[in-house]
Symmetry: D2
Subunit: 345 residues, 4 copies
Amino acid sequence: MIRAGIVGASGYTGAELMRILSLHPEMEVTVATANRYQGECIGALYPSLDRFYPGVFKAYEPEAIDEGCDVVFLGLPHGESMKALPELASMEKKVVDLSADLRFDDPDEYERWYGEEHACPGLSGKAVYGLTEVYRDRVAAAGLVANPGCYPTGALLGLIPAAEAGYIAGTVVVDAKSGISGAGRKATPATHFPQASENVAPYAVSGHRHMPEITSGLEKVSGKPVAIVFAPHLVPMSRGILCTMYVPLGTSTGAGEIRDSYQEFYRGERFVRVLEEGAYPQTKAVQGSNNCHIAVEVTGEGRMLVVMSAIDNLVKGASGQAVQNMNLMCGLPEWMGLESPGLFP
Amino acid sequence: MIRAGIVGASGYTGAELMRILSLHPEMEVTVATANRYQGECIGALYPSLDRFYPGVFKAYEPEAIDEGCDVVFLGLPHGESMKALPELASMEKKVVDLSADLRFDDPDEYERWYGEEHACPGLSGKAVYGLTEVYRDRVAAAGLVANPGCYPTGALLGLIPAAEAGYIAGTVVVDAKSGISGAGRKATPATHFPQASENVAPYAVSGHRHMPEITSGLEKVSGKPVAIVFAPHLVPMSRGILCTMYVPLGTSTGAGEIRDSYQEFYRGERFVRVLEEGAYPQTKAVQGSNNCHIAVEVTGEGRMLVVMSAIDNLVKGASGQAVQNMNLMCGLPEWMGLESPGLFP
Amino acid sequence: MIRAGIVGASGYTGAELMRILSLHPEMEVTVATANRYQGECIGALYPSLDRFYPGVFKAYEPEAIDEGCDVVFLGLPHGESMKALPELASMEKKVVDLSADLRFDDPDEYERWYGEEHACPGLSGKAVYGLTEVYRDRVAAAGLVANPGCYPTGALLGLIPAAEAGYIAGTVVVDAKSGISGAGRKATPATHFPQASENVAPYAVSGHRHMPEITSGLEKVSGKPVAIVFAPHLVPMSRGILCTMYVPLGTSTGAGEIRDSYQEFYRGERFVRVLEEGAYPQTKAVQGSNNCHIAVEVTGEGRMLVVMSAIDNLVKGASGQAVQNMNLMCGLPEWMGLESPGLFP
Amino acid sequence: MIRAGIVGASGYTGAELMRILSLHPEMEVTVATANRYQGECIGALYPSLDRFYPGVFKAYEPEAIDEGCDVVFLGLPHGESMKALPELASMEKKVVDLSADLRFDDPDEYERWYGEEHACPGLSGKAVYGLTEVYRDRVAAAGLVANPGCYPTGALLGLIPAAEAGYIAGTVVVDAKSGISGAGRKATPATHFPQASENVAPYAVSGHRHMPEITSGLEKVSGKPVAIVFAPHLVPMSRGILCTMYVPLGTSTGAGEIRDSYQEFYRGERFVRVLEEGAYPQTKAVQGSNNCHIAVEVTGEGRMLVVMSAIDNLVKGASGQAVQNMNLMCGLPEWMGLESPGLFP
């Protein structure tokens, strides 16, 4: 068994890593740290995990990680992750960082969007961006992976085939609808049930931090500048992200042709499915799974491609993709421990 | 008291008319018809209305309407409404039709989108389109009003100021998120709780019937063709529509300037509010009220205007606006019976 | 117009008082205090109220209350309310206190359940318990009213007719299901949307503070000890309390006879409705209204009376009943400003 | 691999069987029948299963079952199941019937509660009641198992330890709160999202069909008559049942003593967990899992035991327990394919 450490295990992505790895035949969690909850039972915070993790959260101690783990998942918030990274990198263990800290090649870009100096700029360009289906080979060879954000995962899986095929001929609108677990485990006024239920609310329309991540993800593939408008919304559900994306087409193109190119792009993929004509993705169909459902449609008299993608923000948008990446990094089949259908209804 | 008849009173818009009119100081419901539920207690279908409407649903009989009502609200489904309209029109009563049947000036347009011959093409161009804030004077003079659809109300209130100011310089994307009461009172697989909860799902992306209504509403104001892409989504809440609208700008324009023009456009309006910088509309803030909240933001390096509007689909998007229109038609203050804050939380 | 002050106006009960009073023809809010939010726009906290309350929250200053208000609603948390009460009482204004501080005649009872010394024990027995339908005459003559808790309102309206008729012949089980607004406006781990959605959770089963309030409410009416078991639960909705109550019957009694006695008890009441055989209360039928729906059924071979009651916890369970009481205290019709149907769906 | 047939696979329990068995290392679904959907893709009804079940629903043909399956799960509705049972029984395959048709030993009891003649009274007493933790040995030896109802599973797991210990000294109240998937896959007015959301509603309080199943389940263990009052409620969530159960105690007994006896009763069980003092079960903690969480508390001055249990109605309350039973019947470890934590949040 590969021994995995989770540094920053008390948040939703940490708990989701524990849930997924409890089902993994070749990997097990040997250390779960959470400074704030050290000594508290894992099952007290997450009763769903109680039977599977009878132990307690530990304080973060590098030696314990070094000795007790073969690989490390970093579930710390952005800004904290990069403080732990240099030490972990020096241990020469495979690391998947779920925070935003290494997602930009250029540390200046990080500083511009996250408003603080980068603590380990030297590592910035060294991490492989872990959008598995796109960078599979690089991930497999990596020692350090920057796991993509939840919104960028949904958006890029939906847009990259269009970018590669050269369909994008204007500003791309990404209208994203997210379940509230995306805001994290901490209770805030915006996530208070009486506020969030029976409500749809946009936020951060002109400057969400996931926007440059989407932009740079597209530009890398298309090799030229891409303009993105990104508007996230909170909707009253726990899990799931639906991205509805509007791509101006240079020439009038049929949906069938585009759908074919998408199906070709994702041929053989286990986790990404391009739906047939007439079917639409819905977040509940992928709830609890590492799957991504994508549909394409052309409207506006043949001049606007609408791409819709659905993922579970905590699985394919975070911890599931992290395990998928780690599997590759460890030479295991990429789907190991991740082969479960969504929970429906 | 003005005596109001509701023809087709058993659906959600009919029940909402009854709720609103129970609070109206100058109008009361004297006849509520529902052929399917004739003889059944109103309170059996809608226990919330029990005390206010101790009577039963009646079968539709023109004479009863003619004798017992001064004004008529038509809450029948599209296709059925137009069968009753000629007879009602002949009674020379003021009529607000909440169906889609008279929303197009051109009956051919109706036939194209609704797939059936128009039963009273002669009335098509005679009805005033009841988007109150825009067509107030014409509504006040009208005998017959076609009440706008729920999506078009949210979209047009958000876009018309931009159209009038000449801001629209490309295809407008309307990404709409609707509560499930918009699908009506009838239980269907898509509205089944276990299917609809914890779910966001797009539908009818390339051809929803509200799309041409939005297009023609904009073209009337701007006096030239406008291209619209309209993608509706179901979100897990009962009431509310949030429209997020993306308007390409011809020249880079500041959000402040646009916000000013919106605030000028809606100056003095009781039901439409243009939010200050930094505030976003949310459906829960208008739940149960006739209010519409609008915010504008500019992104994409000054080239994309994002307009967001929130309404309650059953109030401003249907029955509230219908009463607002009828008030005007009857010479009453437009806000009579509609002055209540949203129900929050 | 009667000028009303709301001391502690930023919580949900304060906001609900503002919502209700915006519709009141004879009472208006002239001062709304909230020390924590002083100077902030009311509409910033509650966008639904924006147009109706364009002003700001004020700091609590006794003189401003004394000069600017004829009557006072106290919306402060328990423990804080009793600190303000002596001063307010000295102003000789009519006061409705929505906190728990004066609900017990005996200050020792307060101290036992709330774990702190009572700050104004002298006032404890002086307040009238404001369960309007039961204590209407005393409320009308009162200067100071202790507004009942939300759970006790639902439970006592359902049980008092049984107590008065002498039906109670054993320990009464009160199983209560509450919407999450009952926990207040403050975000906590238990009210975080991802925790509270898709979840039903009991809490405080052996010692909720509303239990002695229910017990003493029943004992006053029945004139003898009553044993209560009270189990509250959080369910994933914003508003509403459903109490299901199990009353052992001394002798086998038919549901019809009991239903008759309930209907007799509440004959002529505007806000309480005893449902016919076969109908059940549901919280959504009273959402946003001051109504209480009650059903009775007998099961267990004629030996167990099941009483079910539904209220909106923020209206009949708090602010609506507070206004109902204040109407009586001011000599106004009790229903003034409260005559609206529930918001359904 | 053991080849499993699912007869009546299009409902929620059928879909859940497919979901669970897709993860089972020793059992696979070879035939899934649904007469109503024959020829339709499984993934069209359940997009979450698409990748795992690329085939179609088949019409029910006994020969196909006989040849293609080693074991059979019957997911037909009550009344239909018993029509297929004699033929399936004659095939001498192991069968788990998820319907109510064989849950009563006495076919007259079935007829009394389900209002129709029993189609195979000879099989009635032959099926083993599949409450696994209680009847494990009998299940392991059985060829035909009647899988318990969802409410009875939650109620009996919570009450049987009390019954066995002789704690029950009066009428037991079972107040159950169920997610709406319990009503099945068919859309009805009661399960329509706008009706069911933001709502709690009791139903069938004096005569739900699961009541006699709970009663007889308790009487078998305690060996004497037990009186039950059973009140089910719909709450706005998809999955989960919380039972709150009130057991009058003959003598004042401490919660600690009772908790100890419960922990002893369930010692070594993988799927049932008795919580420590101060912890409460919640449905979300077991969502998607075969787990049952139980807490006990004593109140009412030591005279009332309150037992709370939480299960996922579709897993431990239906398909999960069915697989648990089939595992035993096939000589496999009972937990095979069922070892996953709940999906939280």
